[in-house]
Amino acid sequence: MTVFAVAPALPLHTAGKYVAAAYIVFVVLILVYVAIMAVRLRRTERGLAQLRDEVAAREADRADERDLEEVA
């Protein structure tokens, strides 16, 4: 609290809303960017999981074929 009391730069008069708006714009820009990147990352992760499933399914098919050949 003492820090806030002696801080020379927090006179929240009319200028306060403009300064707050400028810094909020900065933060919002970064947040929107990070949110878009997070959505894309999730899409990549989904693609990777899909690929992993497909590779596993193919390996299982191949193992079944090998077993059938050995039995024959």
């Binding site: 820090v3 801080a7 020379p8 730069a9 927090l10 006179p11 008069h13 200028a15 306060g16 403009y18 300064v19 708006a21 400028a22 810094y23 714009v25 900065f26 820009l29 970064i30 960017y33 990147m37 894309r40 990352l41 990549t44 693609g47 990777l48 690929l51 497909e54 590779v55 193919r58």
Partner: protein, 242 residues
């Protein structure tokens, strides 16, 4: 792991620490400006955003030179992401500048000020970069034409800056000069840390986006190699390098 993600964690920590330090200095250390008072605090976010965005455009031009010289598409990707990031930072610079103009001059925009108008011209010039890329379907040609654009526009940025500095009729204050400017030491320190923080933020987001794009490309290649050409859906027309 993508080579772009190497060192990303350290860079992110440095960015967060520097921006936190900059904010602390802005609000608890830097004195109030004698002329503008509290409104001048916008200076510490607006000016670094403008400087870093303009440097990013020049950087995009330098990467594009790398692409034109070597033909390596990774340089085109670096150039594309640098210009993309710079556009986002320019939007931030324009909006924060506009808020400052309203608070300080009473208008959201001042058409008679060369600094503001030239910055808007640079933004509008680069706003054509993505549509230019999108209009060219062939990826090789798209990369080449975009690189030529990035080099020419990148050269325009410093020339434009010098022309504005030489102009006489301005209302924009001149506080940063090669001889040290008119800022007191505490404000110079705060501004320096703010500029460093925004520059680090640019570098972090640039690497982050490159790492994400590179990972997506590797995933596509892996899918094609493992499952065959039919398993990969053809990419639609895109402005981004593929």
């Amino acid at each position: 792991m993508s080579s772009y993600s190497r060192g990303l964690r350290g860079l992110t920590i440095a960015t967060v620490a520097t921006i936190a330090a900059a904010l602390a200095l802005v609000f608890f250390y830097a004195p109030l400006d004698a002329d503008q008072g509290f409104i001048q605090k916008i200076f510490y976010v607006h000016v670094p955003l403008a400087i870093v965005s303009l440097c990013g455009f020049v950087l995009g031009g330098l990467f594009a030179v790398g692409h034109l010289r070597t033909g390596d598409r990774r340089w085109d990707m670096r150039s594309y992401v640098a210009i993309h990031m710079s556009l986002i930072f320019t939007v931030g610079g324009l909006i924060t500048g506009s808020i400052w103009a309203k608070a300080s001059w009473g208008h959201w925009w001042e058409w008679s000020d060369p600094t503001l108008v030239s910055y808007l011209i640079v933004f509008l010039l680069y706003a054509t970069y993505q549509p230019l890329r999108f209009s060219i379907e062939d990826p090789e040609r798209q990369a080449r034409y975009a690189s030529v654009f990035a080099v020419v526009a990148g050269a325009f940025v410093p020339m434009n800056f010098i022309a504005v500095r030489l102009s006489q009729g301005f209302v924009h204050p001149r506080v940063l000069t090669l001889t040290g400017g008119r800022l007191p030491g505490s404000m110079q320190l705060t501004f320096g840390i703010s500029l460093l923080g925004i520059a680090l933020l640019f570098a972090t987001l640039w690497k982050y986006e490159l790492a994400a794009k590179s990972t997506r490309m590797q995933l596509r290649r892996l899918r094609r190699a493992v499952l065959g050409e039919d398993a990969v859906r053809p990419l639609g027309r895109s402005a981004a390098p593929s």
